[in-house]
Assembly symmetry: C2
Homo-oligomer: 433 residues x 2
């Protein structure tokens, strides 16, 4: 079906960056092999909704090969990449196969970082994959269930304390939604405990929530969180996490222990370990430092994009600033890499700069907090509250993949809005702990 | 909230039987404690649709405490029962708690039986819980993915052979749907393999598929299965299952080995191990033999219902016949047990027969085979094909729990019908094997 003579482009990872790169090469005279460990593309901005039982997994995940079925120049393989040999232009897979490439796009993303405290991972799961979301959902729902089975308030307390670490967009969304679940969704369903008595703590190391936003919006976000019942603690350092609680230190304050069995990690992100396999300079977070063409030094055929890349946006005035780790950044890098490949491989301009260096177009930032609460920072416009929340809903449904998913998510949210219910409240767990 | 003086009814298990018993006691002057290992009631007749990626899990599972939130006399606990002390009227939970009862309904259902070959379980998972369905879904979808990564047809073959063992309703549904996925759903999505070349084998030990139906309908079902591309083998005994294949023996034939990595077990059912804890006579399948009141011998306060019970239907003419292991049977037993409890505990008729002995009302049997194919055996009417399939759709949507789920499932099926797609094609698996 595909001519062996055509140049071979390998893309590793089918997140926002890898998918956009593959699509940008549709119709181009290349053979593409798209490798991903999982069989689906995940709409990560809504992953917290799966973790908090508001959406079912298939609503935010689509089979990669189905999305690309009409792109005949693209072969999708569900496979794990174990190594990259730059000199030989070869990628090794976990099953022992080796594939050679003419151009390579590495877009394997990021994972959690516990800042060297990997033993915390067990007690404070993060949120990057559907498996993570299911694990978190099971823990959150089971905590209320466990509390209901226990006789004394003292035994129940640690099951009714929820701690979210890190007040970036994910942490803020998780904390806001958890408070909403405790106060509204579970109302009248328990006989021994009052779920509204649950305590939701949001801990942040820096001086404000949503650091990437304007300070005024951070303040609004904190107000809205507190309105939902979340206890926000900024300038607060986590010093220990174990099976029975979290130990924290507030600036100028004393150490304090919060007894809890339910901790959500939304603090640290580290680049995928595949960055190291390239044997090139990395930044402190393990991200690969790329040039204006998104290449690594000395290898104009190797591109690194998305969360794995430490890329600069080259502004028109000659200055540069880091590209933020958000989905529009990954998509724009995917498009840029695809265009470079076409220019070099197909139009036969193998060396040097063929396109202007990468420039990130910032369309703004959005974060939701909970029911009718969000903040938006769009160009010169900053707004918060109900209108920001509607805007957030609209944008997320617009960018969801597939007509069916847009329709179903819209319906689910309308239903949730009127009923205060979350329909995916199921614990699927073999251990049933 | 609940008076301690009221009689305490414990119900173990919230399948069709347990749920119906709890609901039938709504408003009665009793305290009910409903115990279940999981937090959701599962609509098991559609579980195969989750396993074959046609529906998402929340569409067929509802949180038990949400379903019963308005029934103030009922406390729901997510807990595992580890023992029953009949003489002391006491139930022990896995966390060490003990609960005493005035009446007990045991409705803990059934699990898979591998006829003493428990080592087969690993290679041939069955389908009873949502965790089972996810495991099967991951295996089925990953098999096609693995085949696509392999270079030689010989390596691919075992990944494109699918074996379903047992041609009862679940086996027939699984085999028909698998054939449909291979021939329609995955069309055009692979570049190296042709999914339509996959072989789906349905193995049955007896002389026909769907033994519970009239022989003419069994023949129709087999025709329809073969029309979808399923290879049906009856009078076929499975003698071995391991990681690389299934060994079978056809009547009068030789032993044969089918190389496959994907086997579905739909053959044997064994009653829940809780039946043994009652220390009363069991039948060969481990089910508890109950009398016309659904009680165990000498304990009019202990009821066993649903798949765990070996119950007789006491006909008006004095004859009796076994109650089949289907959801209407479980529901009717749940209602019967609840009525007995009300008569004995509340109307103070503690001894003997207070209601006529249990009689099962048979409204017929239905089984679907795949797209536009089903068989129906309803009283004097037997029919098959398109109309039976529509009838099957209607009945299953009617009995689904919750308005939202009915609407969503109806939409999902309409969409699947027109598009040939199955939207829940995601593999959620940590190991990513």
């Amino acid at each position: 079906m595909q001519s062996k003579e055509l140049p071979h482009v390998i893309i590793i990872g089918c997140g926002f960056g890898g998918l956009e790169a593959a699509r940008s090469l549709a119709g181009a005279p290349v053979r593409i092999t798209l490798l991903d460990r999982s069989n689906h593309h995940l709409f990560q901005p809504l992953l917290y909704q799966v973790a908090t039982a508001g959406l079912s997994a298939p609503s935010i995940a689509a089979p990669i090969r189905h999305m690309l079925r009409r792109q005949r120049n693209c072969t999708v393989l569900m496979a794990e990449v174990t190594g990259i040999a730059k000199a030989a232009r070869r990628v090794s897979l976990a099953d022992g196969q080796q594939l050679t490439y003419d151009a390579l796009i590495v877009a394997s993303g990021a994972t959690h970082s516990y800042f060297g405290r990997d033993e915390w991972a067990e007690h404070a799961p993060g949120l990057k994959t559907l498996a993570d979301a299911f694990k978190l959902r099971a823990r959150l729902l089971s905590a209320f269930e466990r509390a209901e089975t226990l006789a004394s308030p003292a035994e129940r307390e640690p099951w009714l304390n929820f701690v979210v670490i890190g007040a970036g967009p994910t942490g803020v969304e998780m904390a806001g939604t958890l408070a909403e679940i405790a106060r509204h969704t579970l109302r009248d369903e328990f006989r021994r405990i009052d779920p509204a008595a649950a305590r939701v703590l949001l801990l942040e190391g820096s001086e404000r929530v949503l650091q990437a936003f304007q300070p005024a919006l951070s303040a609004k976000a904190q107000q809205q969180l507190e309105g939902l019942g979340v206890q926000v603690r900024t300038r607060c350092k986590v010093v220990a996490i174990d099976a029975s609680g979290v130990e924290l230190e507030e600036q100028g304050g004393e150490r304090q222990r919060i007894p809890t069995h339910t901790v959500v990690w939304a603090a640290g992100v580290a680049a995928s370990p595949l960055g190291r396999a390239l044997e090139v300079p990395l930044d402190r977070a393990g991200r690969v430092i790329v040039d204006g063409s998104l290449n690594i030094p000395g290898h104009p055929e190797v591109y690194v994009i998305g969360d794995l890349a430490a890329a600069q946006s080259h502004e028109k005035d000659g200055s540069s600033r880091p590209v933020p780790g958000v989905s529009p950044g990954a998509k724009q890098m995917g498009r840029h890499a695809a265009r470079q490949i076409m220019a070099r491989l197909i139009l036969n301009r193998p060396g040097g700069q063929t396109l202007p260096p990468f420039r990130y177009r910032d369309y703004g930032s959005l974060a939701t907090i909970g029911r009718k609460a969000a903040v938006a920072d769009v160009g010169r416009l900053q707004f918060s509250g109900y209108f920001a929340w509607l805007f957030w809903l609209f944008i997320h449904i617009y960018f969801l993949i597939g007509f069916r998913n847009r329709l179903v998510v819209l319906m689910d949210w309308a239903w949730a809005y009127w009923s205060f219910q979350r329909y995916a409240r199921i614990v699927v767990d073999d251990s049933k702990a």
